[in-house]
Amino acid sequence: MELSINGKLVTIADNGDSRPLVLVLRDELNMTGTKFGCGAGICGACTVHVDGVATRACQTPVNQLAGKSITTIEGLSLADGSLHPLQQAFIEHQVPQCGWCMSGQIMTAAALLAVNANPSRADIVTAMDTNYCRCGTYHRIRNAVAHAASLKNPVTE
């Protein structure tokens, strides 16, 4: 079967099974930017976009993804290769520590900013509440997402 990942059609084995997207990405396509954390849809480390919506790749069977558009952290950078405003902001605020949750954090935040260009503090906390960070960078994540929103929407006064 074919999957549309980061704008490219990719052929994967059609085993007629419902193997989760996270394992197809990581183990079959060697796209290891999407991380495995709990396999139960709780921690958010495997968050990708399916048709622009933040989605848990560990809870998403590939046989439900025909015709849908999947975006992973590898496809988040802009067309010219420059970093997404969130990636810039996460560097600027020196957010990651171990970094394992960061692909998921950034994909969750990117889905938020796509539908809410000027999120309030409460909007950011609500959206980012779905993603664990064991290193405890929550406070920097909030600041970086707010900063990225400002980068994306330069104030014109």
């Binding site: 954390g37 970093l83 560097i91 520590q97």
Partner: protein, 727 residues
């Protein structure tokens, strides 16, 4: 893996190091008697004069440092980056003596067998502590060697060369970069016979600055490679049969038709070790499930009640770790003795990247990529398991998706090695979250009995702390060590009294051998001991009728440590406006602790929201001695606080029906973003040597929150996680 830029021809003489780098030799006489020896070892483990250089220094600076023709300095270390920012800090230290611009600096984690030898691994908050002077000396020695080579090349005396940020320049203005000097040097490099002159700290241009972390760009683009991400050509997947019931061992195995199932490459069934190798993870799992594996359960299932009962202080059996004056006599004769007990539960590390290893066993050698904090130890363990020479095994460091003490067990690499030896192909083992919960090891439970008395003026008269804890450090030593010592150095991190040199002080440690795997967890005993000590000191302050900050100030000693801690407390009090207090309806709680040469003080701003403890803001002051990277210090402080808030409010692992109570985060949740406080950190200027940063900030947080909760509810929390009792 070779280092292409590391092509030095060198003499074999070791380089000399400058001031202060010592390998302390602590001679302890066996004739001194068992108790004195125990006290001596305790002092060695926790003393301020702790040896800081461990492992052999390199024979030449070139084993740690290489410079390419385009003037890029590459620092080679075997410290493991697990989020603590260690690579960036070590690169700053190394580049300082060469005065190189930050853009010219790289750092790599070298594999075992490379010239970098680091038998100690990464932990104990001591990477900066142990590398600070040796790395500077290596870099300064290299600078002097480059100066000598430049002098020869330019035909001028060394004295005529001036050091610039990129190399040297002669009096007449002829400049040579370090890279050009290296490229033009064809003779053998000669290591100087004199120790180099190190920069004055006032001349530092990199140390003490918040350089951006070198590992972060790869971590926001998904390109950083962790143990779980290693993919090799021809790689297979392994799964291992693991028990769910604690203490269960394999009794019998009927492999059924597993060997002929789709994709199966090899099956290993020997010495109570059963594993399957297949082309995909799912095929391996399916084949393992097909096998009929019977487990022999322990005669008695482990119960939480038995763990709690065993982890209970018996004052008669504790070993004296600290004894100043006669605390027991003072408590005996005191008019009023205050007593309080505390308990902390088992907890898991919950590093978000589960354990992983990829091992390729070939006749000519073994290559292993393992999620480990200890590459050298892992290489030895794999070699031993395969009955090969250690030099035959190369462990390649990988980024760790969190460590927190969990990445220390050797089984991880050994299992993949055994499967790879059978499959004759590279094998990856990637643990699931359930594997982590049931087959890892846990933070040991603790019990603390605190007693204290006050003099008429409100100062402390006597203190005792009896602690019972599951093993931490002893789990890595031969059983005889534990039997001889009778107490665990790791369990008593932060357990000794640091208040008042004038009072009688007693601390005893009681070793509890539990039927569960307990070991290292961030800070070892620090979180539990900080909770007990700082809660109890707060209670004594209240009994004395003295403000908690003033009481701590009055009872800290006038030593160098006490002076640093008082300055740290003052700094946090200013940061949080302690005297003005928190917002309406909130309470402030104060606590402090010292660990790894670092003083930390924290104030938690807490309220009760819908019957639950809510930590709004944590203010922290930290004196970690000389600071390498201020933002790195702030980040580690934030991280320690968040992990501590999670432990204080949420986390507890128990045993139910002979197994750990959780298989995933649904039954063992972690702190989430909406529960995470804002954090403000102030670094206290300090002239002390660099202290540790990875663990110390977790020391005060439970006490700070508990003390705030007491002010809100009138009930003093005695167990973690804190549960609210109505006022």
């Amino acid at each position: 893996m070779k280092n292409p830029s590391l092509r030095w021809k060198i003499s074999r003489r070791g380089f000399l190091v400058g001031v202060g780098t010592t390998v302390a030799v602590v001679a302890v006489g066996w004739v001194a008697g068992k108790n004195s020896l125990r006290l001596a070892i305790s002092n060695m483990a926790e003393g301020t004069e702790k040896a800081i250089t461990r492992g052999a220094p390199p024979a030449t600076p070139m084993q740690w440092l290489s410079i390419s023709a385009d003037n890029i300095l590459t620092v080679h270390v075997q410290k493991i980056e697990m989020g603590q920012g260690i690579l960036t800090a070590l690169a700053q230290i190394a580049a300082e003596e060469l005065s190189l611009p930050w853009e010219n600096v790289r750092i790599v984690m070298d594999p075992t067998g490379s010239p970098v030898q680091d038998p100690n691994g990464t932990g104990n908050s001591e990477s900066v502590v142990s590398h600070y002077l040796p790395l500077r000396n290596a870099a300064a020695t290299l600078r002097d060697m480059l100066a000598a080579a430049a002098a020869t090349q330019l035909n001028v005396p060394v004295a005529a060369l001036k050091n610039t940020p990129t190399g040297f320049v002669t009096d007449s203005g002829v400049a040579r970069t370090y890279g050009a000097i290296v490229a033009a040097h064809t003779a053998e490099w000669v290591v100087p016979e004199t120790a180099p002159v190190l920069k004055e700290t006032s001349a530092f241009s990199l140390i003490g600055t918040s350089q951006k972390r070198l590992d972060i760009p790869a971590k926001v683009t998904g390109t950083a490679v962790y143990g779980h991400d290693v993919r090799l050509p021809n790689m297979t997947w392994g799964v291992v049969a693991r028990p769910r019931i604690i203490g269960a061992v394999i009794a019998s195995v009927d492999p059924k038709n597993a060997a002929t199932m789709p994709g199966v490459v090899a099956i290993v069934n020997e010495d109570s070790f059963v594993g399957v190798v297949a082309e995909t993870k799912a095929q391996a799992q399916t084949a393992l499930l097909t096998m009929d594996i019977q487990w022999k359960l322990p005669d008695t299932l482990v119960t939480q009640a038995a763990i709690d009962a065993a982890t209970t202080v018996d004052p008669a059996t504790g070993v004296e770790i600290q004894r100043d004056g006669d605390a027991l006599a003072a408590l005996e004769s005191a008019k009023t003795v205050y007593t309080r007990e505390f308990r902390t539960p088992m907890a898991v590390h919950a590093h978000l990247e589960p354990q992983a290893s990829v091992v390729d066993v070939r006749p000519d050698g073994v290559d292993a990529w393992v999620s480990t904090q200890v590459p050298a130890g892992m290489a030895s363990a794999i070699a031993e398991a395969l009955n090969r020479e250690a030099a035959n095994v190369t462990v390649h460091p990988v980024y760790l998706g969190g460590g927190f003490g969990r990445r220390l067990d050797a089984d991880l690499g050994i299992e993949a090695a055994r499967l790879s030896a059978a499959a004759q192909r590279p094998v990856a083992i990637a643990w699931s979250r359930a594997d982590e919960f049931h087959n890892g090891f846990v933070r040991p439970p603790t019990h603390h009995v605190m007693r204290g008395s006050l003099a008429p003026d409100g100062t402390i008269e006597a203190l005792s702390h009896h602690q019972a804890s599951g093993d931490v450090l002893l789990t890595i030593f031969p059983a005889a060590v534990g039997t001889f010592l009778g107490w665990d150095i790791g369990a008593v991190r932060g357990a000794k009294w640091y208040y008042t040199a004038n009072a009688g002080r007693l601390m005893t440690a009681q070793r509890v051998q539990l039927p569960i795997a307990t070991s290292f967890w961030r800070g070892l005993g620090l979180l539990a001991n900080g909770f007990a000590i700082e809660s109890f000191i707060d209670e004594l302050a209240e009994k004395a009728g003295i403000d908690p900050l003033t009481f701590r100030m009055q009872n800290l000693p006038d030593t160098e440590f006490g002076t640093r801690m008082k300055a740290t407390l003052n700094a946090v009090s200013t940061l949080a406006n302690w005297n003005s207090g928190p917002p309406e309806g909130h309470a402030y709680g104060l606590a402090c602790s010292a660990d790894a040469g670092t003083c930390v003080a924290q104030i938690a701003d807490v309220s009760i929201v819908d019957g639950a403890v809510r930590v709004h803001h944590v203010y922290a002051a930290i004196d970690c001695g000389l600071v390498i990277n201020p933002d790195g210090v702030v980040a580690q402080t934030e991280g320690g606080i968040m992990m501590g808030v999670s432990s204080t409010l949420i986390e507890a692992l128990t045993v139910v029906d002979g197994a750990f109570s959780a298989s995933n985060f649904d039954a063992y949740p972690l702190l989430r973003n909406n529960q995470a406080p804002d954090i403000s950190v102030v670094i206290v200027p300090s002239t002390a040597a660099p202290g540790g940063m990875g663990e110390p900030p977790i020391g005060p947080i439970a006490g700070a929150i508990a003390n705030a909760v007491y002010r809100l509810t009138g009930s003093r929390p005695q167990t973690l996680p804190i549960e609210i009792q109505a006022k």
